[in-house]
């Protein structure tokens, strides 16, 4: 939307990924021009080039400020202080009154007329984040949709100054720590690791978030090594460790095929470093037989 316009204006799309590939030849059959493949917001208004330049220039001042802060941080940060001690949790996201909920994208299948599920991410009565809604596996009768029933919340892509896409660097951490209060359902944690090439845009790492249910809060500590890799939701034969320095998004999905309301209260989503945890990937890394996984 707005970001897209300024992005186009200020930064050429080829260097927006943060990598310098001079020229890339992509086979035409796998070429995806738009990231949200097929799911474009049709209500979005087209802005003239003149207007786009005006809007872009308005943001220039703030972007220069951001850039200055980045340079300062890079030169002045003491790297030793950034390594957390074992047992310390670095909160990546807190949910409280001051949380900006615009930093989260909340979607469900009803957004694109593909189902009847609805959801929202709001402030709960006790002042925490509340991801709740109603799951419905009822199908839209359009003859195309085969399955329905998902609700999803996802963090927006981190950006550097001048709207350059950036990554979360979690490489010093080994565990994901979350304090949540669920309703007994199982949820899915999604770590997006969109790569440079379009075939890697939909690479994600998943693990289940089991909730106890009941009035008590729970702290879930999940090693990153347990996350398994999927592409467009399909689990892959060739597994790899989570590229923790290139995380593009964090998300939680509710889609356990049980019709009815769901409720997940989130206090914080944090990261922890456990030096004793040396496992990189919990899944077998053996080579898949030839012509089995596509090559």
């Amino acid at each position: 939307m707005y970001r897209f316009i300024t992005n186009k204006l200020l930064v050429p799309s080829t260097c927006a990924r943060g990598l310098d590939f001079p020229a890339v030849f992509v086979p035409s059959t796998s070429f995806h021009e738009i990231r949200k493949n097929g799911y474009i917001d049709k209500t979005q208004k087209k802005v003239s080039t003149r207007q786009a330049i005006r809007d872009g220039l308005k943001e220039l001042k703030q972007e220069i400020k951001n850039w200055t802060a980045e340079i300062k941080e890079a030169t002045m940060l003491d790297p030793i202080m950034t390594v957390p001690l074992p047992g310390e949790v670095d909160a990546q996201w807190f949910f409280n009154q001051s949380t900006n909920f615009d930093d989260w994208i909340v979607t469900s299948d009803s957004d694109h007329n593909e189902g009847y599920s609805t959801c929202s991410l709001t402030l709960s009565p006790v002042g925490k984040g509340l991801f709740s809604g109603n799951l419905s596996t009822q199908l839209i009768k359009d003859g195309k949709v085969k399955r329905a029933g998902y609700c999803n919340m996802k963090s927006i892509r981190p950006q550097k100054s001048f709207k350059r896409d950036s990554f979360y660097d979690w490489s010093i951490y080994t565990h994901l720590v979350m304090r949540v209060r669920g309703d007994g359902r199982s949820y899915m944690i999604n770590l997006g690791s969109a790569g440079y090439f379009d075939v890697n845009w939909n690479d994600q790492f998943h693990f289940a978030l089991f909730t106890r249910g009941g009035p008590h809060w729970q702290v879930s500590k999940i090693p990153f090594s347990k996350f398994y890799m999927t592409s467009k939701g399909r689990i892959q034969d060739n597994q790899q460790a989570v590229p923790l320095n290139r995380i593009t998004s964090f998300g939680i999905t509710a889609g356990d095929k049980n019709n009815g309301p769901f409720r997940l209260e989130i206090d914080y989503i944090g990261l922890e470093r456990d030096p004793t945890h040396t496992e990189i990937s919990a899944y077998e890394q053996y080579k898949v037989p030839s012509f089995y996984a596509g090559y």
Partner: protein, 403 residues
């Protein structure tokens, strides 16, 4: 010099004089028209894209595993050549939920077994690469997909079956093997284990729910009360109550006239079943102003404030250090007990408090408020007891609970 005009001689002839060309001049090159004898199929099912085979036309009450297996058997043992297998499998897939066999491995095996063994196995690498018998392969892929969606993991026999149908290069074989690799990895992953089959009885479900919620404190004791033991109870039902010794201590420490809330009903899901529960909660104890000030002003990163016991600097009366609160003392309230009642009625909750009073005498000194809302979650209101209650439909939300 030969000039090619784009059409060969025989094609020109064919266009100009089709009859002559076909019948007289070049009798060996005539086009063979294939006519199917319509009478052969006339008595079969109507020519529709999606057929609901007559085999599945079972009266609603008789739809179960036996009739499903029987329907498949009727199809496979029909005399004559077997036709439209893929269509039959697709319609069987659609019917499975109605017959209540969508989580039954045996039923899936029956429908996979319809396809012939050996015929669809590719014999060279081109066939293997270009999806030999694509409709049949896609059909079994869809069967496996439905199994995956319903959490049915294929076994060794299914593997052998699919292997015999499509061979080791078949896409269904690959999918099946991926399923047998991944599905067992996540099957028993939940730290709150549940029995393979959730029991039908509401009481048993309630026990499981309270046990699961109480697992936060290992000292939780689950008690089952019968309201018939009480004199004044209107409802005759059961109450499953979970309370630990820590919660009893917390309840005993509450001051006289302090308000405690009976809140609910909240929902807990046990796999595909949900049940409503109630809690007894007291407001969190706010910190005194002095404590709040101490905590907000104390700088934990200030190294100069470090005190060592070696030099006698350690002050044991420091007020910023407190005993770690128990799991029940949360920032949004202290959880004192959890209960599931058979009727979810206000009267049953009253009975629950009376039962709690036997082991927690301090309740007599407290003000009990039956709250209609809660900061802890959405609440579905308890039922008034004069309305005839329907315990089965009120307490469970799961659709497949009665199966």
């Amino acid at each position: 010099m030969a000039v090619k005009f784009g059409l060969s001689l025989s094609q020109i002839l064919n266009r100009a004089l089709p009859k002559v060309h076909n019948c007289k001049l070049l009798p060996g090159l005539h086009i063979r028209h294939i006519h199917k004898n319509a009478c052969q199929f006339r008595n079969k099912e109507s020519n529709q894209l999606i057929v609901r085979p007559s085999a599945f036309n079972v009266p609603e009450g008789d739809r179960n595993k036996e009739t499903f297996v029987e329907a498949v058997k009727i199809y496979t043992t029909r005399p004559g050549p077997r036709r439209s297998q893929v269509e039959f499998i697709y319609s069987a897939l659609k019917e499975m939920e109605e017959f209540g066999v969508h989580r039954d491995l045996q039923a899936y095996k029956e429908i996979i077994d319809i396809l012939p063994k050996g015929k669809y196995i590719p014999t060279n690498m081109f066939q293997a690469e270009f999806m030999h018998y694509p409709k049949q392969q896609q059909c079994i892929l869809d069967v496996l997909e439905q199994m995956e969606d319903n959490g049915v993991c294929p076994d060794a026999e299914t593997d052998q079956m699919v292997l015999n149908i499509f061979g080791r290069h078949g896409f269904p074989t690959k999918k099946l093997r991926r399923m047998t690799y991944w599905m067992p990895k996540f099957k028993n992953l939940s730290p709150w284990a549940l029995p393979e089959k959730i029991p039908n009885s509401n009481l048993e479900i309630a026990k499981l729910a309270v046990q699961r919620m109480g697992s936060v404190d290992p000292a939780t004791v689950i008690e089952i009360f019968q309201t018939s033991e009480l004199k004044d109870a209107i409802d005759d039902t059961w109450i499953v109550c979970g309370q630990s010794s820590n919660q009893k201590d917390l309840l005993a420490k509450l001051k006289e006239k302090q308000t405690v809330f009976v809140e609910g009903a909240f929902t807990i899901w046990l796999r595909r079943t949900s049940i409503n529960y109630f809690i007894l909660r007291s407001e969190p104890v706010p910190l005194s102003e002095e404590e709040q000030k101490l905590r907000s002003e104390f700088d934990y990163d200030d190294v100069s404030q470090l005190r060592s016991w070696i030099f006698g600097e350690e002050n044991l009366t420091r007020k910023d250090i407190i005993v770690q609160p128990s799991v029940h003392e949360q920032e949004d309230g202290t959880i004192l007990a959890i209960a599931v009642t058979g009727t979810c009625s206000k009267d049953s909750l009253l009975s629950w408090i009376r039962f709690l009073e036997r082991t927690n005498p301090n309740i007599a000194n407290l003000t009990i408020l039956f709250a209609t809302n809660s900061p802890l979650g959405e609440v579905s209101l308890a039922i008034e007891s004069n309305i005839p209650s329907e315990p089965l439909s009120k307490i469970t939300g799961g659709s497949d609970i009665c199966k």
